[in-house]
């Protein structure tokens, strides 16, 4: 299970040069591209795509921020500039289907791009994993066993409440034969990690607690071995919380893609 990829990740530019078309475009996102922790998830999503033999491509350096944090912060100009530039690239490549590694990119491209001329079928990587499991293309074998491990899943706001995706990530965990435990506040009542709405990029306002601490305390109440995430920002907030609570030796924070890759020995 090396960190390194033992295969090339195809870019759209290369595909087109070869006269080929991918089945799906993997939209990596800024966190997935630059954040060290999220890069691991990015590589694991590629490993899964490679493993099932799906024809995919990434934009590579042609990708740019979807504009999500600008939009949530109130800068509609910057958002639409980013959106229109990205849509131009996506449409030029005749993209039909996109999988994203981040619920924020997922929400923005799926819901906010169509009104600006960019209509695609957009899924989040946990939905892709669920589909692959349902189709029998992906199992949980040949890798690390999660049997009996206690896993609690934290709903990202822009996947859950934002777009009603509650089941796909849970289905992806169900195949592990692990023990899934829910936090008190889950699904439509899930508590935010504290990063949304551009909070990721600023210090929190004055209060008596940080939101991620409130969340991590609730997660730790379930006495999990693993806290599963589906969003690079939640990943940062929750990992920080676990560290602050001195629990990083006992509790792992893993993205669903990482768990899936590990279970399949990828």
């Amino acid at each position: 299970m090396s960190e390194q990829l033992n295969f090339e990740v195809p870019t759209m530019a290369e595909m087109i040069a070869k006269g080929e078309e991918p089945e799906i475009l993997f939209w990596v996102g800024c966190a997935g591209s630059y954040d060290e922790r999220a890069q691991k998830t990015t590589r694991d999503i590629c490993k899964i795509l490679h493993h099932v033999g799906m024809k995919y491509a990434v934009l590579g350096t042609e990708e740019s921020c979807t504009g999500d944090p600008a939009k949530r912060a109130g800068n509609e100009f910057l958002f639409q500039m980013q959106a229109m530039t990205n849509i131009e690239v996506l449409n030029a490549y005749n993209i039909k289907k996109i999988v994203t590694g981040c619920p924020h990119c997922f929400n923005t491209i799926k819901n906010e791009y169509p009104g600006l001329g960019g209509s695609y079928e957009v899924i989040h990587h946990t939905q892709l994993i669920q589909q692959l499991i349902d189709e029998g293309k992906l199992k949980a074998e040949g890798g690390e066993s999660f049997k009996g491990k206690k896993i609690t899943y934290h709903d990202p706001c822009y996947l859950g409440r934002g777009n009603g995706v509650y089941e796909a990530p849970r289905k992806a965990l169900e195949v592990l034969d692990a023990q899934l435990v829910e936090m008190k506040r889950c699904k439509s009542n899930g508590l935010c990690c504290g990063a949304g709405g551009a909070q990721m990029f600023k210090e929190p306002e004055k209060g008596n607690k940080d939101i991620n601490i409130e969340r991590i305390e609730e997660a730790l109440e379930t006495q999990p071995n693993i806290i599963a995430a589906g969003c690079p920002f939640c990943m940062t907030m929750i990992s920080d919380g676990v560290k602050l609570k001195d629990q990083d030796k006992n509790v792992q924070v893993l993205d669903i893609a990482e768990i899936t890759a590990r279970a399949n020995g990828l």
């Binding site: 630059y34 350096t61 109130g74 509609e76 706001c157 009542n189 508590l191 306002e205 409130e214």
Partner: protein
């Protein structure tokens, strides 16, 4: 005859006053910008049936939901009785519907049981607010008036139900005495237990029966006219508010058309923009918001479910989604009063942002949609927060320094952090 004339005069006056106030409320809502919510009428109608009439979103908290349902059903159904009161009042008849026989008995009997339900429900609500002091009913925005408002409503309903039951008890006693006018009609499963509390003299009983009758109907007319000043407006506004609520995924924020025009013109010099509504970007004051935002504000019944699930509020920040709605209503009423006094175009030098809602509040929001999910009647505080942020960022360039830095990074590097776009694909090459 005199009684009939007084009755008609009071009723007409109450209806006239109510219409006058409703017109002002509608005028205030129309201060907002346009928003198209005319799509998918069928889905909208079903949403209204489910959420407003069916109260489905209440049931995430079963105890208040159950009590609320009883109070609601009781209050609405007992108002069928008001129809009879109105007819009796106008024509000087007594229990005009009693001719329908056993159905009448069934109706009056059911009303009594519901009235008892309303009475008990309101009493429990009063206890929850004033004795148990549930956390949800406190907060910076829950000042003296909103707290009193809630208590006035509950006490009024208790008084109205008491009058209704006492009226029936006196009526039933008069029926037994064979008093003139008091025909044998109705079943009194609840009020029969009150009969012993009443005197036996016919004159006193008539006085009680008439007194309660007048109290009941005048009380309801006063209550009607209290609505426009009260959080209780939700009994009417819940319906249009859910009908016109947002049907798109909660994660989706509106794309601003005015901005699209400018961005398109920037990217393509030959582009000619479509007509867009003039005005500033985002919202500084209530008239920059849409009519849906403003209707939301009138609809809010200040239950605090939004605030109790808000991650910012839970962790001690200033932000409270309920306060956003209450401030919007207060400011709208203030602007409305200014217009009444001095006509359109008057500037009192105040605005929704800063005078009502602080910057600290709007920047504490994580846009997690917990508030919109929790609202039992689909109010959207996040939409208002977003508009205020848009104003702060696009009109004033006033955002926290770190947000400015993030925006600068996106603009220059295509990522919210300071990394080179040339390094964007490095994740595939190294580890």
């Amino acid at each position: 005859m005199v009684a009939q004339i007084i009755f008609i005069a009071i009723t007409l006056a109450a209806i006239a006053l109510f219409s006058y106030n409703i017109k002002k409320v509608i005028r205030n809502i129309q201060l907002g910008k346009s928003a198209d919510r005319s799509d998918q009428p069928q889905k909208r109608f079903m949403t209204m049936l489910k959420v407003a009439l069916g109260q489905t979103k209440m049931f995430f908290r079963p105890i208040p939901a159950f009590l609320h349902l009883i109070v609601y059903l009781g209050f609405v159904i007992i108002n069928i009785e008001v129809l009879e009161i109105l007819i009796d009042g106008i024509f000087g008849s007594h229990r005009i519907f009693s001719g329908v026989g056993f159905i009448y008995d069934f109706l009056i009997g059911s009303f009594e049981i519901l009235a008892l339900g309303v009475w008990v429900g309101c009493a429990v609500f009063l206890i929850r607010r004033n004795i148990l002091k549930l956390k949800r009913f406190s907060g910076v925005e829950m000042t003296k008036w909103p707290r009193s408002d809630a208590n006035y409503i509950l006490i009024s309903e208790i008084l109205l139900m008491t009058a209704f039951l006492l009226m029936n008890a006196a009526d039933a006693k008069l029926q037994v005495l064979g008093s003139q006018h008091y025909t044998n009609a109705g079943a009194f499963p609840v009020s029969q237990h009150l009969q012993n509390l009443l005197p036996n003299s016919e004159a006193a009983l008539v006085a009680i029966e008439r007194g309660c009758w007048w109290f009941h109907i005048i009380g309801i007319l006063i209550f009607l006219n209290y609505l426009p000043y009260s959080k209780h407006f939700h009994i009417l506004f819940a319906f249009p508010n859910t009908y016109f609520s947002n049907l798109e995924p909660k994660g989706e924020f509106t794309n601003m058309k005015s901005v699209t025009n400018e961005v398109k013109a920037m990217l393509d010099s030959s582009f000619t923009p479509e007509e867009a509504e003039p005005g500033r970007f985002g919202a500084k004051d209530v008239n920059d918001l849409t009519w849906v935002n403003l209707m939301n504000a009138y609809t809010c019944t200040e239950c605090g479910r939004c605030t109790s699930v808000c991650p910012a509020n839970i962790t001690g920040k200033l932000l409270s989604p309920r306060k956003i709605m209450m401030d919007t209503r207060d400011r709208m009423e203030e602007v409305g009063k200014n217009i009444d006094k001095t006509g359109n175009g008057f500037d009192d030098g105040k605005s929704l942002i800063d005078n009502y809602i602080s910057r600290e509040e709007i920047w504490a929001c994580t846009s997690c949609n917990a508030c919109t999910e929790a609202c039992p009647i689909n109010i959207d505080p996040l939409a208002i927060i977003t508009e205020l942020r848009r104003y702060a960022v696009m009109e004033e360039s006033q955002s926290p320094a770190s947000i400015n830095a993030m925006l600068g990074n996106i603009e220059n590097n295509g990522a919210p952090w300071k990394y080179s776009p040339a390094d964007r694909f490095n994740w595939a090459k190294e580890s």
